[in-house]
Symmetry: C2
Subunit: 345 residues, 2 copies
């Protein structure tokens, strides 16, 4: 199986993406892997497998490696006298901006490069937490109540304390605060607005059960991971999440009964089907009084949630062989021809 | 004022985009205009102003003109010994796929090129009529009732005849049918599914009033066009719409009272604000018993709806000088450095 791991990006999760790529490399041993790094200036580099270490990037050593550019059908490596086209299927592992906001998806679509990862529309609905709420509501999936605030418009919050304040478009807990009383609110809003001009405020649900479920579709059939109960803390801060992205040991299945597991799968599928095809996503759920609420969608989960799959390599292979393909429209200039004819030209 | 008109694209509206570009060229006389054509194979060409005629493209003459490619900061024209970078602000005039689905927006964002046109998220919400409904519902804008059908899932329609069947993602009336009775339904569904794997079905509202309103935001202030009452026919078929895209004469203001005009503007602004910044859009409304319903959003209206603006050139200049700019994240490898240090490396 040939696969090109695309990672990096101009994002707050740039470093996390590097850690993810290194982890996935370890989990896909035996695959024929290429590595393409997108640096913070949006330049692409072909990274030698043996250089896949965090320090390669933090020290800027990647700049000495071959630069690539996008062209129809792949990434091209040009030298003075020749050019090599890298046509492999891409695994989009750029977390956060660029990778999860639809930019990389659009680039790969435009240049007809096959890829594992969310398409443009799926990206928009998972990247911005406001739009995830709209998706839930349209598809009959419950989610936590919320209010939307924007920098350009001031309004009061009607949700009772404690609340959780989140930038609309960032993952990995960046800019997130729990606010227990009025005096803490303004600082929390400022912190969130530092990262995003839109934020959401939700009631902070204490003592809620959390379950993560990953999955994907191949040949019209859903494949689910085991259900995981993530570490119990108020929430993971950035440094803990950072370490979390390098997870590679398979976790134990959470202690959930069949009925709850089925409910989680049904909600996952409502979100996934007819939107997330081509991607392996992780949905993070809350369970309150037996009711399942979607918390967030990770369309490119850290290290591809490898630790949730009994056979991660087989899962990636299945998905890679079942990617949506976009039919490119053919133009025949029928109307211009008929109008030119009518004009006698 | 310097501006690069980007047109063409691999879309059912490719030819319409050519007509649009030729029309806009005429309306922006006095501007310093460049023309970049995206052909159906996603190759870019720099088109000489004097060659801006429909036959240039239908005869394939553009292939003899300089080819361009995307690079950080603009479109680059490479010759054997030199390269010229075209850095001008782009007016995205690619209708339909590529231009309105978020692809071109993502490309221009990624390569840090300033442009007039919908951003990626705005594109997704206007390109797919299902998502437009979700947007309306989240923002308190009324729209026509609808049901969603997809190729992969069969279900019955509960809306009473007559209904209108539309592919979810196509403009210019392509694949649209009005169905008056059960016997006509299956053909209409087949026609729509030929263009899209998702379709929407709405009640066909007879004798409804239609009003179009265009507008944009500059320096935080909304600018509106006059309200137009479009030609009264069952609906415009593709050929009529095609001719419609070459409109350049200013139309007369529709006979609407101040109250209705205000209602239309309020609904327009609810849709526009905090989503469509950077673009000039046209919203097409229905009015039923004094109630305003959004029918569709044209984020890149035919010939930029020039005929609705008293001073089209001034409008474009205002907008071009008030484009959103994306802050690119700076990466400092803080976490990798601190982890490397902790490891003693």
């Amino acid at each position: 199986m040939k696969l090109t791991i695309l990672f990096g990006g101009a994002s707050f999760e740039h470093e996390i993406s590097i850690v993810s790529a290194i982890t996935v490399k370890g989990k896909l041993a035996g695959f024929d892997l290429d590595f393409i790094f997108c640096d913070q200036d949006h330049l692409f580099y072909l990274i030698d497998s043996s250089s896949m270490k965090a320090v390669t990037f933090s020290k800027g050593l990647h700049k000495k490696m071959p630069q690539l550019s996008l062209t129809n059908g792949g990434f091209v490596q040009k030298t003075l006298f020749s050019s090599v086209l890298h046509t492999g299927t891409v695994l989009n592992l750029i977390h956060g901006a660029d990778g999860e906001d639809g930019t990389i998806a659009a680039l790969l679509d435009f240049f007809s490069i096959r890829y594992i990862g969310p398409r443009v529309d799926a990206s928009v609905f998972s990247y911005d937490k406001r739009y995830t709420k709209w998706l839930c509501s349209a598809r009959g999936v419950k989610s936590v109540a919320h209010e939307e605030l924007s920098l350009s418009e001031h309004k009061n919050i009607n949700i009772q304390y404690p609340v959780i304040v989140k930038p609309a478009c960032l993952g990995s807990s960046i800019g997130v605060s729990i606010v227990k009383e009025d005096s803490e609110l303004s600082y929390a809003l400022d912190s969130a607005f530092e990262y995003d001009k839109n934020i959401i405020v939700e009631p902070f649900l204490n003592g809620v059960k959390e379950y993560n479920l990953a999955g994907f579709m191949a040949d019209g059939k859903m494949y689910f991971s085991i259900v995981e109960e993530p570490h119990k803390e108020e929430f993971l801060d950035f440094e803990k999440k950072y370490m979390d992205f390098s997870r590679s040991e398979q976790v134990l299945k959470a202690d959930v009964d069949e009925e709850l597991e089925l409910k989680l799968r049904i909600n996952f599928e409502k979100i996934y089907r007819n939107l997330f095809e081509g991607s392996l996503i992780r949905c993070d759920f809350f369970v309150v009084d037996g009711e399942v609420l979607l918390n967030e969608i990770n369309p490119i989960p850290g290290s591809m949630a490898n630790y949730l799959f009994a056979d991660f390599k087989e899962s990636i292979a299945l998905l890679a062989n079942s990617l949506p393909h976009t039919k490119r429209v053919k133009v025949n200039y029928e109307y211009i021809h008929s109008i030119s004819k009518a004009k006698g030209k």
